[in-house]
Symmetry: C2
């Protein structure tokens, strides 16, 4: 297998799949639409997950685990919810296989009394439990998160972005008042923004989704929305204010301090392995991945250049104190002593997106130097081995910031404002990117624009300036300032 | 709901379920046989998981994630494996629900071309991938672990011990030689022993399983086996040498250094949420849980005793420096400022098994003292607040060791050696516990003993002294020294 990837500049979609496969992030599973997350990709996920898990816990939430299987009837409890999920769910109907003429067959005698579905999301099973757990205001707020796999039987799948099964966290909280639930929804949105921007170096817009794009069963859905390297939008995370919809569907009430019986207010929120798709498509280039140091499996790769065993040993001894310092200070590094050529290794680790490469050969050892090459800029410089730890720490921070800045500049350069629908159409067609404009708030308008241009409302800008704006389509006074774009 | 638990001494099985429910470890899910792991129980699991994950990684393994769904045909690839798992697996047959007359129905048009099963274990799906990933000796060893949920459609379920869905880790490794695979199997066994004994304070015996008890598809299964508080045995973890069975079933060969084509050698190994059952049943007493400090969600609970706001503030200020020191040094603590009475809180936290309770009232503040009560021994003593951090650290270590020693003594006191089958039968019937004896190694003998006494071979002692021993049943020369016991 050639280690060169399809150039991103020529074929974004081909590049995306190619880089995932060749960098060892993921592979296709045997059942259509399923994905294997390979060790390198999983390490990236673990770093993301641990960063987010800490923020979730630090803000007062606790983790738990709810069952994979949901009784079929539960899904029907909330009217919009069932609409959203019934069409694409894995249904378990039997519990046994047996030997048949042509191999293993489903044993008809093992048919279940009630079919169960594999969770596409866990609101229903969780709210059936909350009914047992919540009696009084003393039980509120209930702030629970879970890390889990969920299944949506998607027809058109794509590694990380849309797979039949994916990994995510889903938070499910219960509150005494509407205000508290709204506050929680926004708190989580801010945590997601922080995760995206400070850890993944992916700039995001935050705001409400339109009715058409909101979660099935929510009152309001807030999102973090990012621009990918092909200028298309990616919904990177959502935080829902569910109002009392699920509390009513499952009969979850609580006794207030003054002895009244009220329905509780709910939120739910989630981000998934899709975020890895965002990282890849935001930062990658023709050479492969460029990973943000904070979540990179390896922050620095050591490529020793040697011919003889003596060289090898000298380099090893020369580096030892620095590597120990890396280790003790939590710098994640990898030493590539494999027999491959330095050139091969350079390409390999560039494709894998390691932020810094440290090169060192016999001459460097003599001069007490090493060479550091930055993956983000390609810049290569020689540094004294003394103080290399501080230099590396400094560079890692610089790279983290630079990746974010590059992505932010890219987004800004490809965000266009317009009041004219003609311009809107030509922008979508010719240039792509985000279009900032007025919208009258009508679903009909959104639908028409989608039909005519394939662009949808990605995000109602929370800080939108709407005075005097007109709807780009209808010409009526705008209700919102929004971002329209074609999306994944 | 009364917070008193059914006394363990009167009804072990009733106590077990009661303590799990009342201490907030877990609850039943809506689908029969499923379990909700509540926040307190999940925190226990997270501590266990993180301890093990570190040991798995430190010994050179990496994590990955493989799909939940396995094509039905895969299960049939390995003859013994299908025997072991086909009878109890969740089968997905359809991918859509639709509105019917009486609610939601399975859409017959969404029938899958090939049914998929929800993984009961992942050997088959993983080996189908290894076939793609392994070509040459350079790709070996492949040392992969995953944390995942698995499903076995069990008829008689019990919280943590046997549930339809459970959480576990499953390691799957590929090696060039038989020796390496065997070494890996034993390395993992030693890690499992360390986890059980040093973290969970659960003493375990290690050794081979008999043919009847080994994993479906393995050449040899090693286990860690523990004695529960009712003297029954619990299989707490297994490590399998799979030989070339799965490599042959999936056609996984590699090119050796001297250009030969060989089948690879495999291992797999796992421990699950069942280990929490072991912790509960090993250490619990009539008052509830007793948790080992190393994995306890809270290592120390603070119970302030106060009437006035002034008391409250004084206590708060008095404790602050100590609590900061706890926090900065990773001591997990909880402050219970709830309006419940001290007596209520004492019972509550004893039931929840927190290793140390710190009591402090206004008089203690005046005297610069606090009271520490040990959950393991019930001992209560007053200590100066100065140096309380070292005292607590010391006590936590003592409690960890004491729980282990108590359990070890219990196991030793209830392990009996015998050469007489009459005595064997009366021991099993009257006393329970482990019986150490000779066994001729015949499956027929094991089956007979099982039929007559319900005891099975739990573990072939790796350090068994078999010279001159006779089989306790057949009187023939013993092939092994083994432990027989009734088991969960």
């Amino acid at each position: 297998m050639s280690k060169k990837v399809i150039p991103r500049s020529q074929n974004f979609s081909g590049w995306y799949t190619d880089v995932i496969t060749k960098a060892g992030l993921a592979d296709y599973g045997p059942v259509k639409g399923t994905m294997v997350i390979k060790p390198y990709g999983f390490s990236l996920w673990e770093n993301l997950r641990d960063s987010l898990d800490k923020m979730i816990k630090d803000s007062g939430h606790v983790n738990a685990y709810f069952p994979l299987f949901i009784p079929k009837s539960f899904l029907a409890q909330e009217a919009e919810h069932v609409e959203g999920f019934a069409k694409e769910c894995a249904v378990v109907t039997h519990s046994r296989l047996k030997a048949g003429k042509d191999g293993l067959i489903v044993d008809p005698e093992s048919k279940l009394d009630e079919e169960v579905i594999v969770r596409p999301t866990s609101e229903t099973v969780i709210w059936s439990m909350y009914k047992k757990w919540i009696q009084s205001y003393r039980d509120l707020p209930l702030l629970i998160n879970q890390w889990a796999n969920v299944v949506r039987w998607e027809m058109r799948t794509r590694l990380f972005l849309r797979t039949t099964e994916f990994l995510w966290q889903e938070g499910h909280t219960a509150h005494a008042t509407e205000e508290e639930a709204e506050k929680e929804t926004l708190l989580i949105l801010s945590i997601y923004k922080k995760l995206a921007e400070e850890f993944l170096a992916v700039p995001v817009l935050t705001g409400l989704k339109s009715e058409a794009e909101k979660f099935a069963g929510a009152e309001r859905t807030y999102c973090i929305e990012a621009m990918m390297g092909d200028k298309r939008a990616l919904q990177a995370g959502t935080s829902h204010n569910l109002g009392q919809n699920f509390a009513k569907a499952f009969g979850v009430t609580f006794q207030t301090e003054d002895n009244k019986e009220k329905y509780v207010h709910a939120t739910s929120w989630g981000v998934s392995t899709r975020l890895l798709g965002a990282v890849i498509m935001t930062h990658g280039d023709d050479k492969g991945l460029r990973l943000p140091p904070k979540i990179a499996p390896y922050q620095i790769v050591i490529v020793p250049i040697f011919r003889t065993d003596e060289d090898r040993q000298n380099i090893h001894h020369f580096l030892e104190p620095a590597l120990n310092k890396f280790k003790n200070n939590g710098v994640r590094y990898y030493e590539d002593w494999s027999p491959n050529s330095p050139g091969f290794k350079f390409n390999e680790w560039e494709m894998k997106g390691v932020p810094i490469r440290l090169e060192v050969g016999p001459r460097d050892v003599n001069e007490s130097n090493v060479i550091l090459a930055r993956r983000d800029t390609g810049e290569k410089k020689s540094y004294s081995i003394n103080g290399i730890f501080s230099k590396v720490s400094e560079l890692l921070e610089e790279i983290q910031n630079n990746l974010f800045q590059q992505a932010l500049t890219f987004r800004e350069n490809h965000t266009h404002s317009t009041d004219s629908y003609e311009e809107f159409k030509s922008l979508i067609k010719e240039k792509g990117g985000f279009i900032k404009c007025g919208w009258d708030g009508e679903s009909e308008t959104e639908l028409r624009i989608k039909e005519e241009t394939k662009a949808t409302v990605r995000c109602i800008l929370s800080d939108g300036e709407i005075s005097k704006k007109m709807c780009v389509y209808s010409g009526k006074p705008a209700k919102y300032e929004v971002i329209f774009a074609k999306a994944y």
